[in-house]
């Protein structure tokens, strides 16, 4: 056997080695505490709902310290407004850039408040999502956000993107 074919055989034996099968089967109920992804079509959104008015109360108590009153910005990013984007000088905001409203629910629930992530209830996350969309006039001030309504919110910059390498993107 030549060195090259020996090398190939060794590589192949590593690449196609049988799995030791040491993963333990796990049930949806066991994963539930971690299963927090929300996809753009709304899959993953939990039961429950929230309104802008409910969200305003949660916002004042838990968010305004960093993001400022009414989402106008503070030590952390502003959550309301944003000039139309023309160049990299622009500040990316929810209203002028974010393509999907589901990202709001997903990100608030996994990462906010910064110093106490995962402390909000699912209802509070719906309410905050509704409040932020409302102050940006992306939904009405009495609209309720839930698993059915949130994925249908049309974000202004939905079509503002170009896939960089279409050939390697499904």
């Amino acid at each position: 056997m030549s060195t090259r074919s020996l090398m190939l055989a060794l590589c192949a034996s590593v690449a196609f080695a049988q799995s030791p099968n040491l993963g333990k089967p796990v049930s949806p109920a066991e994963i539930a505490g971690w299963d927090i992804n929300i996809l753009p079509d709304g899959s993953g959104l939990p039961p429950g709902s929230g309104t802008p008015a409910e969200g305003a109360r949660v916002y004042t108590a838990k968010c305004a310290g960093c993001h400022g009153p009414e989402g106008k910005g503070g030590p952390s990013a502003k959550l309301v407004g944003g000039e139309p984007i023309r160049s990299m000088d622009a500040e990316k905001t929810i209203a002028n850039f974010w393509p999907y409203a589901t990202t709001l629910y997903d990100y608030i629930r996994r990462a906010m408040p910064w110093t106490k992530p995962r402390s909000l209830t699912n209802e509070e996350v719906y309410a905050l999502t509704a409040y932020i969309l409302s102050i940006n006039k992306l939904i009405g001030e009495n609209d309720t956000m839930n698993a059915q309504t949130l994925p249908k919110v049309r974000m202004p910059n939905r079509e503002g993107f170009i896939v960089r390498f279409p050939e390697r993107t499904p």
Binding site: P25, W34, P40, F97, R168, P170
Partner: protein, 441 residues
């Protein structure tokens, strides 16, 4: 006192091709010329004494040294070789620690100097309690312990990891004076050892409808990113070891996802969950952050790839020249598309180019160090490096990159990220006094 090169060295010097302008020598000059060449390029040859002092014993040679420690710590004389911190007090925002490329050499980044970006500090994870879950569009959702993963067949590979925002200061409309660390410090290279992700996905049984994975970390923001399944099944790895020891806390202890050659942020640190899906998650970091704005206002989505790049580490800003004479120009080149094929170096701002020597072995999607001998005549020079990868793609000039991608209208903070995925040629100007500056050429 001015030394005269020997006649032999003069002959060697004649044979030496100055392969490009402003003193660039052939990349094999040092090897071919040998000792005589050393004389020729430095302008010195053997003379009775230029040293002028008597060697004597130093204190450290005259008594036993310190007790050998269990875990090595570098010499105290090297303490200034450190990462630069964007948020040293750990305020509630992202922390960046940048690799001091101008103060190290070779191709591996030492673990203590590997760049780190942590969005809410480094979590202090108990490895015995950490779990990795694979679920979603699979036949059988599975959970793995670190102990279980440690029993799998492993692979080791070299790979660079680079933040998609590395080199962003070069989007500034005017060159910002900063070191290679400040400009290019969010890329590092290590040998990573772990379990191919394809092994674990195969064990769970991927549904034919699956197209993406969404990976999530156990850090406080539960950072999550989506990756095409094709990449996950190709060369993705669940990494357990970094340069032979367990992954450092800032790099994902006890396990991280490695996607060789792809945007650092996607290489999920502290990875605890992978959901197999039929669509991307459009998570915060892919929907908003790593979507560079183009002139006119559209933005790129799913850039993913870290394209071919190189930069000169020696000389570079902060490393002043020590007078005219021989220098080695050296730096790193890398591409997310594969191996580095060629690096060209210029000392006259791109008017003429010499091919640099590549330090082998050249690994795919990893740092390759390049070296080129240079005799600086003490006058102004502009050093550049340009790399090609094995697909034939090469670095654009800054003018070319900016024409398609834009630049800022005001000078941003050096720690800012006006855009991402900057891979154009970097230019260092050597000033007459020996100072090295960042310039656009």
């Amino acid at each position: 006192m001015k030394m005269t090169p020997s006649d032999q060295a003069k002959r060697e010097l004649k044979n030496l091709e100055a392969v490009a302008g402003n003193g660039l020598l052939h990349r094999r000059a040092w090897l071919r010329g040998g000792a005589a060449l050393a004389g020729a390029v430095t302008g010195y040859t053997l003379v009775p004494s230029a040293f002028g002092q008597q060697l004597s014993e130093d204190a450290w040679s005259l008594a036993p040294g310190v007790t050998v420690p269990e875990y090595s710590v570098r010499s105290k004389f090297e303490n200034k070789v450190a990462r630069s911190l964007s948020n040293p007090k750990g305020e509630p925002r992202t922390q960046h620690a940048r690799t001091p490329h101008h103060l190290i050499n070779g191709t591996f980044t030492p673990n203590g100097l590997h760049f780190t970006i942590s969005h809410a500090g480094d979590p202090d994870i108990d490895p015995d309690k950490h779990r990795l879950v694979i679920h979603g569009l699979v036949k059988q959702p599975l959970v793995f312990t670190l102990e279980a993963l440690s029993r799998y067949p492993m692979v080791s590979r070299m790979a660079f990891v680079e933040c998609g925002g590395n080199s962003a200061p070069l989007f500034s409309l005017e060159p910002i004076q900063a070191t290679a660390q400040a400009i290019h410090g969010l890329v590092s290279c290590a040998e990573w050892t772990g379990v191919p992700l394809s092994t674990l996905l195969d064990e769970a049984g991927v549904d034919p409808k699956a197209k993406w994975i969404v990976a999530e970390g156990g850090d406080p923001p539960h950072l999550s990113r989506s990756t095409p399944l094709t990449k996950a099944m190709d060369d993705a790895m669940i990494v357990l070891y970094q340069n032979g020891e367990r992954v450092m806390p800032g790099n994902g202890y006890p396990m991280r996802l490695l996607l060789p050659g792809w945007e650092g942020n996607m290489n999920t640190k502290w990875v605890r969950r992978i959901q197999v899906t039929d669509q991307p998650g459009m998570t915060f970091y892919e929907a908003r952050t790593y979507a560079p704005i183009l002139p006119g206002g559209k933005a790129y989505r799913f850039y993913f790839l870290q394209e071919v790049k190189s930069f000169i580490t020696h000389p570079s800003p902060g490393l002043a020249m020590k007078g005219p004479g021989f220098y080695e120009i050296s730096g790193v080149a890398y591409s997310g598309n594969g191996r580095i094929a060629k690096v060209m170096v210029s000392a006259d701002g791109g008017k003429s180019w010499a091919q640099a020597a590549l330090q082998g072995p050249v690994h795919s999607k990893a740092f390759t160090r390049f070296r080129a001998p240079w005799r600086w005549d003490g006058g102004p020079a502009v050093l550049q490096s340009r790399a090609w990868d094995e697909t034939g793609y090469s670095q654009p000039t800054r003018a070319q990159l900016v024409a398609s991608r834009g630049e800022t209208s005001k000078v941003p903070a050096v720690t800012g990220f006006p855009s991402q995925h900057y891979n154009a040629i970097t230019s260092w100007s050597i000033e007459r006094g020996g100072e090295v500056k960042n310039v656009y050429a």
